[in-house]
């Protein structure tokens, strides 16, 4: 068995065993980390594999959260229905946004995604009847796995649901970046002009991956709402978009697993620092700066370098 596969199996075993090792609140933190890991993973598809830096990715996390919250609050359907609704809502909204935004490249693309995200944030904030305005939607229930099926209301059950979603999403992304489509994305990232001269317009590829990434971010948001029990405009705010970029860079851009780890480390550092000092933002900022300087390629990129050197 080769190294990466052994590591993957060990990680899976750890994920399966952890609920019996961790205390209740620790398991809850781990669930939270995994949800944001999924969010960062989705961002890596466009940022790391296609070279499209989005400053508005939180919008799709937020849309997923609202989509899922609305389904659960109003209909009490099983959670997977809400997950599907959240991912779908995010994907559908990403279609027109992506259509416009992919007309631009580089910093202009980033600014367009940011502008659309702020617009969506404002809609969530103002459309009180539907979204509950600044209060958001509270009391989002963790219903069941399927109709009349097991309840997801225990920390264990919900943890396993989230873990399953993250693992499946990771496998899906892995297959995606190795497919003919995924290879094309990486060529676009490397040299778009060359790509076009070789026979395909880049924009359809960018649009498709933008929608896929949005739907996956939506899935993360859809898991988040019932987990925390609410959806509010904060989850669509640009701050989360910016943190997404930092998670991806911390873990290792263009590595898929890296951003998941990056999200976990990033949030853990914040948690730890904020328990010691109210000026934690200064320190977490400093940690991020040091990581970018001394760990180029992020955690995974650095680990790979060390392994190949050894």
């Amino acid at each position: 068995m080769n190294g990466p596969r052994a590591l993957a199996l060990a990680a899976l075993a750890a994920l399966a065993a952890l609920p019996w090792v961790l205390a209740r609140h620790q398991l809850s933190i781990l669930t939270d980390l995994l949800i944001f890991g999924l969010f960062a993973l989705s961002l890596d598809l466009i940022m790391g594999y296609t070279g499209m830096v989005s400053f508005g990715h939180a919008a799709y996390f937020g849309l997923g959260a609202y989509g899922s919250a609305l389904v659960l609050v109003h209909s009490g359907q099983p959670v997977p229905v809400a997950l599907l609704a959240g991912a779908l809502l995010a994907g559908v909204v990403a279609l027109p946004v992506g259509w416009f935004s992919t007309r631009a490249t580089g910093i202009y693309f980033a600014m367009l995604t940011l502008a659309f995200a702020q617009l969506l944030y404002t809609v969530a904030y103002k459309w009180r009847d539907l979204t509950g305005g600044s209060d958001g939607l509270a009391g989002v229930p963790k219903t069941t796995l399927f109709w009349g099926g097991p309840s997801l209301a225990t920390p264990h059950a919900y943890y396993f649901l989230v873990t399953a979603c993250v693992v499946l999403a990771l496998l899906l992304c892995r297959a995606l970046v190795r497919s003919p489509f995924g290879r094309a994305l990486q060529a676009i990232r490397e040299n778009e002009r060359r790509f076009v001269a070789l026979g395909r317009a880049a924009r359809p590829f960018k649009l498709v991956v933008f929608v896929i990434a949005a739907a996956l971010a939506g899935l993360a948001g859809a898991l988040f709402a019932p987990f925390r029990g609410f959806a509010s405009p904060e989850v669509m705010f640009w701050v989360l978009s910016g943190q997404g970029l930092m998670m991806v860079l911390t873990g290792g851009i263009g590595t898929l697993i890296g951003p998941i780890l990056g999200a976990m480390v990033f949030i853990l550092i914040q948690e730890v620092l904020s328990s010691y000092t109210e000026h934690w933002m200064i320190f977490s900022g400093a940690v991020f700066v040091l990581m970018v300087i001394f760990l180029p390629g992020g955690l995974v990129g650095t680990a790979r370098r060390l392994v190949t050197r050894a």
């Binding site: 003919p180 040299n191 060359r194 076009v196 070789l198 896929i212």
Partner: protein, 249 residues
């Protein structure tokens, strides 16, 4: 048979007429050299033919069809492949992947989101053939950025060649090469022209290369075609000599 014809083709940049009223005919199977001093408009003409730039006047016909309205990707799919004067590759991708993606983009199946293994393998086989023809196979696994300059120039030719084009545009393939590398590249181009029966339009500054390779030569000066003929005829042409003497070289 005429494979490429431009009619009154022109492109301005503001007040500058980079290409002006160029009417050019290239016959199937010939190796045509395009020469001219720096800034004569050779690269701009390549962009107009390959569709990377839109003309401000005139038309481009490829195999008898007017392709002026087609964007670069569509022209490539019809059979026009090119290299760039300033090396343009996918630096972080492997040498093999650079060529393989060139095959895939032309052959199709690009929206296979999952799987597609058969497709990947088929395109990889063709990429290997092309790399072999250019002597790059032993470096196939390295990132393209790791190749020395000369091999990167060859890699670009391999990418274009793997697309099995009918018309191959080469923009100064020997630029910046050592004499040995230049000789090797010339040999490669001659072999391609002979074995693959592909029509080649070649921009080149090195006159030895031009007179060595070309069936016919076209001369561009201040955006205009000022002469065309066999290498011998061009060598003796007074206008051409004046253009070069008057040029910035």
């Amino acid at each position: 048979m005429t494979i490429l014809e431009t009619r009154g083709l022109g492109r301005t940049f503001g007040a500058l007429r980079a290409v002006a009223d160029v009417s050019l005919r290239v016959e199937t199977g010939e190796l045509r050299a395009l020469i001219g001093p720096n800034g004569a408009g050779k690269t701009t003409l390549f962009h107009l033919i390959s569709g990377l730039l839109a003309p401000t006047s005139g038309q481009v016909a490829f195999r008898g069809d007017d392709v002026t309205a087609l964007a670069a990707p569509a022209r490539c799919r019809r059979g026009i492949s090119r290299t760039f004067q300033i090396t343009s590759i996918f630096p972080e991708l492997s040498v093999l992947e650079n060529v393989r993606i060139a095959v895939q983009l032309k052959a199709g199946g690009n929206f296979r989101l999952l799987g597609g293994r058969a497709l990947l393998e088929a395109s990889e086989r063709r990429a290997r053939d092309s790399l072999g023809a250019l002597g790059l196979l032993d470096r196939a696994r390295e990132p393209a950025a790791m190749l020395p300059h000369g091999d990167q120039r060859l890699l670009e030719i391999a990418m274009a060649l793997a697309q099995q084009p009918e018309l191959l545009l080469l923009d100064e393939p020997t630029q910046g090469l050592s004499p040995e590398d230049t000789a090797a590249t010339v040999a490669v181009i001659r072999r391609i022209a002979r074995e693959r029966r592909v029509t080649i339009l070649l921009v080149e500054h090195d006159m030895d290369v031009v007179f060595d390779l070309a069936d016919r030569v076209s001369v561009l000066h201040f955006g205009q075609l000022i002469a065309e003929g066999t290498p011998d005829a061009i060598r003796g042409n007074l206008d051409v000599q004046t253009a070069y003497l008057g040029g910035p070289e």
